[in-house]
Symmetry: D2
Subunit: 312 residues, 4 copies
């Protein structure tokens, strides 16, 4: 929990402004408080709280094995540890319109800037699994979007509607129809998703898109496409969706393998941030300063509270 | 949640046997379900659920900012995702003997093999912060150990008593006295901790240690010492305490920096495990097989449940 | 948390034996740890953890506004505070077969004896609302039952399948067909539900029921029917489903009204259990005895732990 | 969760105004969402989220067996179900200044109006247990109050400092000294507690009290004292501290006993609120109206979402 700021910067308003900008913005994935801190410290303007990454980091599968309140707990840690806007991957809203609007209220309360909900069934499956996943009924999903918008307690909160029609093999026309309907139902932006390794259908969608709603993309599969193509296509927001999670897997595997094999930290320790560096990331200095302010001076102290000292 | 095994292997018994072996065993740190899976997959016999790493991954500081039930939630994810023994860093037991024994009962219920409690005050500070942290009253801490032992619901559960006397600057004699008292109070093993960069005081302690209780060490600071020294000293268990957490920080920083700078995944994606690899780690195959078993065949299916297909 | 017993009595086995008895047994509703304690202390053999009552006590509506892990937290408190079998109202299993089997594993872990799942859609609606609620696909629900049975980690755990066909206006024939299918899929008992004020359809169902699976009923609406009718009909288990919750509402309303009106506790206090009585219910004596055992005697004590004294 | 209002009324400001009024105000105890709803519906201006009542309702003892986040979960349900100010019994703040200020931030986020913290040690004991419970160090407790005040994210949030000196047998002089120090440290009000059956020491304290800070009392033990005495003494706030919890115990015991003895609901059902009445308390009408708004009309609906109908 970041203790320095007494009031939350209005992250929702900042995110709304990002969406409104004519340029392309970027969100970087995080899945817990620590990765969220890193995303912010490395200069990203906002954080993508990925459903896949959160589930994976918990040791669960990306099909709503984690309950919506378990996900809420995770994103609360993330919000408490950062100040930049966080966009939560809300899957399908965890049920019907009523479940989705409860989620929205709780996300607003936890200082989340936006939620993305997708037009599939609960429990969801990861979009990169199988073909022809069943989509939500159009009317039902529009109602869900409207319920989310009507329930947000922060007027700048955004609801992003994620269109799975291309991935489900339903074609460009249905994707556009759904996107327009979602926009009319109140969605603040449209996330058009694709699992192709080339960006063609995404770029075509962007070309055919007439509505004012900003477009959001997740180029996990068509990652070789240069950002210029997205800029030229008028994409508002690019989400780097799960790379911190995957990078941490690679690093932990390598670390475990080295230590298991050599029975030694030598050769590993040198490449790691020090414990003191870890303390700095979490702002232990604030804690020492607070002790100085709030704990009795040692001489007057018959207190039993352990006093941290200003040293590592 | 690992679905294959219907019954928990008796992890507590396995850990007890590890402690009883004449050889030196190793635990590797994990801090969430994902890192726990990696530790197991890379061949470690057991997992250290580090208080520092868990707090850090949540975005919190290592001074009991996370409540004991928040920590419990994390270690439950870890236990559900693995089958090897997990030893939980229980800090000071989160209060008095009553809090500590409640923790023990809950850890037993969550299939945790052992807990380590340290002889400091609640809220604790990380051992590597400051000098002369206040220790727990000897009698009180012995009562806490006894309460933990009397409350375990799994007869093979172990309570490891962590001696902070050396770190607190109280000297070798007090360290030994405390360790003996903790052993007599029922501790199944003694963790003797040091923050020196040389292992001398640890090795001296081991030499002077007469009791039968196994010794556990955490060579974070004296990491250059070869394992042979620990074996020769009769150390039962070596804990690699926080290296997965720190390795993930290094990797995520690097990943973020690259992507932020280049606005591209090229050059990063190639070094990451694929999404399919992630699915394999979490055993999505079990899910597809379970669908085949439990969901109606498509032709008979007027069900509304989204069916995952046997393909990625 | 009940601290006296070191091991859980096998509540699942006890409940299984209740179901197998030729006589009629009874479960009484509870919705939190306190009401569960009262149910046990007043002599009931088992506890019904009602979905409606739990939702209501949380201040939520009975349509899965509470997540499954929030419900799990509540029933864990209930299990920790009691020793008799608890049957959890698991609604529709909170999603598909995978969600349902995760629930079952967690309920087994929390010492729950049985779960009841109903053949409706997620999110569910309370059975007493509206007409013609949509039922689950038969094959899907049978698969869900099978998944639950295959996933239980306690061999004596029971899965009760709740048939909503009569309430949904689908007729006796479908009710019987579904019940037989559920039994063949592995259900340990069938709960046949009705919202009529007369027991006729329940008694007819029981008469036509040929399978060996025990029958369970919830006579909330046909409450005037004497228990003898149920005994004669061979009903195994009668659930008094929400009366503690409703009784507490009546009592709290009356108490609030009296105090608000009179601005005084006089006239109310006299009818209430004393604070000491409350302490006795929660076994504070165990706590004082534990202090005596685990805390240093005052003379030796330079501890800072607050010592409770053996007096109220 | 109350869905009607899109924004939280400023409960903290309302509570602050209650404290500032020259008249005596009243808070009524609640311990879960349901009891909180009843307190509000019966006309009380505010709710006391009692630590004893919450612990008891969970089936736990009033010595911090529940973690602070478990208590937070409960008060969040209470806040979501109501609109009047809630004052949370924060025990000793669950640790040192850092734990206490984290609590304050989370309470502000959950729309809680105020917290009361008491000058004892963690883990606390109920004030009605034993004699001479150890008090917090004066300087430490003042630092804790200051940390709480500095950390509130809602400027109208109040911190009430509870003085246990009279109960601990430390005398009137220490009680007054502590109260003044706490006021100077930033406490918005002083709760002066007593376990005597006569109000003399409370009234004397009020007479000797010079500071501007409002006084709060909890007349559980001296309940026969007429409210006029408190008004005359200038008491700002009277807390009826645990009577809903105790009333519910009496009612549930009686209900269980009747049903266990008679094996019938006859004679009980008639005195209980109907299920429909329960639905009204939780505003199911809002849900039906929302369905009408957000779900597709049945004719257009090939949706699979269960539709609630506008009837009971």
């Amino acid at each position: 929990m970041i203790m320095r700021a007494n009031t939350d910067s209005n992250r929702s308003a900042i995110f709304r402004a990002m969406l409104a900008r004519p340029t392309t913005s970027f969100l970087m994935e995080a899945h817990n408080g620590l990765s969220a801190i890193i995303v912010q410290q490395e200069g990203f303007e906002g954080i993508w709280a990925s459903g896949l990454s959160i589930a994976t980091s918990l040791g669960l599968r990306d099909c709503n094995e984690a309950s919506w309140t378990q996900v809420l707990d995770i994103v609360e840690y993330m919000a408490d540890a950062t100040t930049v806007p966080i966009v939560v991957d809300g899957d399908t809203g965890y049920g019907n319109f009523n479940n989705a609007r409860m989620l929205v209220r709780k996300l607003c309360q936890r200082n989340i800037a936006a939620v993305c909900i997708e037009d599939k069934q609960f429990p969801k499956s990861n979009s990169f699994i199988g073909d022809g996943q069943e989509l939500a009924d159009l009317g039902e999903f529009c109602g869900k979007i409207a319920a989310c918008k009507d329930s947000q307690t922060n007027s700048n909160f955004s609801v992003i509607a994620r269109v799975e029609a291309l991935i489900a093999g339903r074609g460009m026309s249905e994707a556009l129809d759904r996107a327009h309907a979602y926009g009319e139902a109140g969605a603040d932006a449209i996330l058009i998703h694709s699992k192709k390794s080339e960006p063609d259908e995404i770029l075509e969608f962007a070309r055919l898109w007439k509505q004012e709603r900003p477009l959001v993309i997740v180029p996990t599969m068509y990652y070789r496409t240069p950002v210029e193509s997205f800029r030229d296509a008028g994409i508002s927001l690019v989400i780097w969706a799960n790379h911190n999670m995957r990078a941490s897997i690679a690093a932990m595997r390598k670390t475990c393998r080295h230590i298991a094999t050599t029975q030694s930290l030598v050769g590993i320790e040198e490449g790691l941030p020090s414990v003191k560096d870890v303390f700095n990331m979490l702002d232990y200095e604030e804690l020492y300063a607070a002790e100085h302010r709030y704990l009795p001076a040692p001489e007057d102290n018959n207190s039993t509270t352990t006093a941290l000292k200003l040293a590592v």
